[in-house]
């Protein structure tokens, strides 16, 4: 499913609903920064690409799935931001803007859907050892940076993020909505 394609998202969500009759959990993970460019080097279509994958995709999938959850009278949605959505990041203006926007979007959606017992929260990973990140730097460089900048002295593992998401879709977070959970080893404290 291409999260940027409204018709495709609608079709997939409809098919899931038809097959299972319900959707209890949605995690919007799809995203990426793609470009490492100064703003004067950044083309409009590059800006749009980052916005579409990260922000519009989150909107489109939420829109379709939320309708199912409202019908059920319950559901959990976790959207993915980034510490950059709070701190900003040089050379990644569209990514930081999109991630900040996901936080604002999620708060508004949380307010809209709380009466239907649909909870929306955000996970904000810090530097994490995903294949994409690991392909761009050496383990030594990552460790050196982590020990210099991150209180817990290491970069995140995908499992750290998964645990945060698992918490946000489970019973332990039943009284939390509209919140952003930062999983970043203490790099950013909001």
């Amino acid at each position: 499913m291409d999260v940027r394609n409204a018709a495709e998202v609608k079709k997939v969500v409809h098919e899931i609903d038809r097959r299972y009759g319900r959707i209890d959990i949605l995690t919007n993970i799809a995203g990426g920064s793609f470009y490492n460019k100064r703003i004067d080097e950044l083309a409009w279509n590059e800006w749009k690409e980052v916005m579409d994958v990260n922000l519009k995709g989150t909107f489109l999938v939420c829109r379709e799935v939320a309708a199912v959850m409202v019908r059920q009278g319950r559901g959990r949605i976790v959207n993915t931001a980034s510490n950059y959505g709070v701190t900003g990041s040089a050379m990644r203006t569209p990514y930081a803007a999109a991630k900040a926007a996901i936080i604002g979007f999620s708060k508004s959606l949380a307010l809209e859907l709380a009466p239907h017992r649909v909870l929306i929260n955000v996970i904000a990973p810090g530097p994490t050892d995903t294949p994409r990140v690991m392909s761009k730097s050496t383990p030594d460089a990552r460790l050196e940076r982590a020990q210099r900048e991150i209180p817990l002295g290491r970069t995140g593992k995908p499992e750290d993020i998964a645990e945060g998401v698992y918490f946000l879709v489970g019973p332990e977070s039943a009284y939390m909505t509209g919140q952003t959970l930062h999983v970043n080893g203490g790099l950013v404290m909001v």
Binding site: A110, A114, R117, K157, Y175, T177, G178, V183, G186
Partner: protein, 250 residues
């Protein structure tokens, strides 16, 4: 059932009632050994009995978190009994109501010394032991009032905002030792403290203005504290988790 805090030793201050009691019982159900610390000895003994009923090891200690000697006694009794500390929950707090212009200096001192000073004294007392174990958790109970303020509660708001800042600094200091430090900021909850002059009906009616439609119960907070105490939260530090049904979204 898989228990996630098997044999961990947890110290919970202010555990005779409210959040502290629910946190202690939740930890006990997850296999932890508990130290029930409270200035109210009878209350602490009562919760001790409840923890025993869950089948967990437990020690009740009378402790005043604003008194240095009392906190050191708490530490000594904890280590004498269990020999280690894995989790410290700084929960003890007070919330007398006074308009700021009429607030006595004594009351200001008492609130700051208990709510914020207690965080400092307890953390300072237990950190050397936790640090020697190379892993541990400190969880402090702040409040949504840290962000929104409260009429007739400027001392309380200052103390809770202070906890959020204290926790961030301590998280930075203790990160290299593998100790995470986080705070939980409950919203309006069904505990003894926020009632003030409100009737039961008025308290529950406040839930109508909360996105999730109800005030918090102590279990809502205990569940989040339990998550923070487990290995699942080992990469989360320096954070303030708002557990308030969506009242504040920061």
């Amino acid at each position: 059932m898989i228990v996630r805090l098997k044999d961990k030793v947890a110290v919970v201050t202010g555990a005779a009632q409210g959040f502290g009691r629910s946190i202690a019982l939740s930890f006990a159900r997850e296999g932890a050994r508990l130290v029930i610390a409270d200035v109210k000895e009878d209350g602490a003994k009562g919760v001790e009995g409840e923890v025993l009923a869950v089948g967990a090891e437990v020690l009740a200690v009378r402790a005043n978190v604003s008194d240095e000697a009392s906190v050191l006694n708490l530490k000594d009794q904890t280590l004498n009994r269990f020999g280690r500390v894995d989790i410290l929950v700084n929960n003890a707090g007070i919330f007398p109501h006074s308009i700021t212009l009429q607030m006595a200096e004594e009351e200001w001192d008492r609130v700051l010394d208990t709510n914020l000073g207690g965080n400092f004294l307890c953390s300072r007392a237990f950190v050397p032991q936790i640090r020697s174990q190379k892993v541990g958790r400190i969880i402090s109970i702040a409040s949504g009032i840290a962000y929104r303020g409260a009429i007739a509660g400027s001392h309380y708001a200052a103390s809770k905002a202070g906890i959020v800042g204290f926790v961030k600094s301590l998280a930075r200091e203790l990160g290299p030792d593998g100790i995470t430090v986080n705070s939980i900021c409950p919203g309006i909850a069904d505990t003894a403290l926020p009632r003030g002059r409100r009737s039961e009906e008025e308290l529950y009616a406040m839930g109508e203005h909360i996105p999730l439609g109800r005030i918090a119960n102590t279990e809502d907070i205990a569940r989040v504290a339990t998550f923070l105490a487990t290995d699942a939260a080992s990469y989360i530090t320096g954070q303030a988790l708002l557990v308030d049904g969506g009242s504040l979204m920061l």
